[in-house]
Symmetry: C2
């Protein structure tokens, strides 16, 4: 064809834009673009503008580094949240996952990753200093480490634990064990072993909690 791969430059640009997204190939990109072509102009404009505004107007909470529209995020500025608890997570997505469980009502702290020598991420690349400052301020009674159950996650947890030792704060880590719905037979040995060591008193409806 004359004008590049597709007959239309506009089409080609839109397909290429979608195909740059992770996990989206040119065929899927084409399908999405064809779908958008069939939608109302207003809806497609809203879609395009949502993307542009997201990138240009988004801010990060100055307290917990969560994504925010204001100086402080809606969690940090919610008076009903328990300010004595701070849950440390790797990324913003983890906050959403924990919020969806409806089991936690404290605040958060987004590290921005985990210590990973392989990827060149050291403690100074993470927001550990600002966590220490929050703890040093005194209101926080418990720091809950909700990091990945990987070598890197454990290293980061241990580093933070040592950093916070001088402060009057209890540091806890989320439970690791057999996932609900999983059969013992197919659970890996490490997880199964950990779940035996960290056993808790039996309660009725344990799986439903």
């Amino acid at each position: 064809m004359i004008n590049g791969k597709h007959s239309s430059r506009l089409l080609e640009e839109a397909v290429s834009a979608f195909a740059e997204l992770p996990g989206i190939g040119r065929k899927t990109a084409m399908r999405l673009v064809m779908y958008l072509l069939k939608q109302d102009v207003d809806r497609v404009n809203a879609f395009g503008n949502a993307i542009i505004r997201l990138r240009n107007e988004i801010r990060f909470c100055e307290k917990c580094h969560n994504i925010s529209d204001e100086q402080y995020c809606s969690i940090c500025s919610d008076p009903s949240r328990d300010v004595s608890q701070v849950c440390v997570v790797e990324q913003v997505k983890d906050i959403i996952a924990i919020e969806n469980t409806h089991q936690y009502h404290g605040l958060y702290h987004v590290l921005g990753g985990v210590i990973s020598p392989m990827e060149g991420t050291g403690p100074s690349d993470l927001r550990i200093d600002s966590l220490e400052k929050r703890v040093a301020a005194g209101d926080i009674k418990e720091v809950i480490l909700a990091l990945s159950a990987t070598m890197e996650g454990d290293t980061t947890a241990f580093y933070i634990f040592k950093k916070l030792m001088p402060y009057a704060v209890s540091v806890t880590i989320i439970a690791r064990g057999v996932a609900i719905g999983n059969e013992l037979e197919y659970t890996d040995e490490l997880t199964l072993g950990r779940s035996i060591v960290n056993r808790v008193p039996f309660q009725v409806n344990l799986t439903a909690r």
Copy 2:
């Protein structure tokens, strides 16, 4: 959370926009949005604008109904294409698929679908009249039907064949047979039967053509 499902309205809007696309759930949408948040502002703006411009500025070729930036698409206005051949396809995507084979150098005609009583699509919903007008104009010697190998595709092919009978044009249909790379053992009976009936003289390197 206070402000809806996510802590940020901007984030929520962008995630919802992506989640409306076919085959993209909220989790994938979140992943795409997080990816965009990490990209350069310029690149994200280009993405958003590509979508908006696509929907607002795209046109359809007045001759073949292919997607186009101008009055006529780049294929119709390419002087090197064979104007005596017209390949009839269901949708724009099919043109791209056929162009990618590099085996066809004529023009196209996009029907916009196939006759399907189940979906309420009749002949008048398709661009069959404008195909007939093109044939009636006289330059076209061969109309190649490249429709789906389904009941609907066959019905549409037959309808077009009858419509074009009064004109001095040969109507052909693309070959159906055993897909290249497929074993006979796993080819369905209908396809295998059709491939025996429509057998062609043996040529060296048949599969490589």
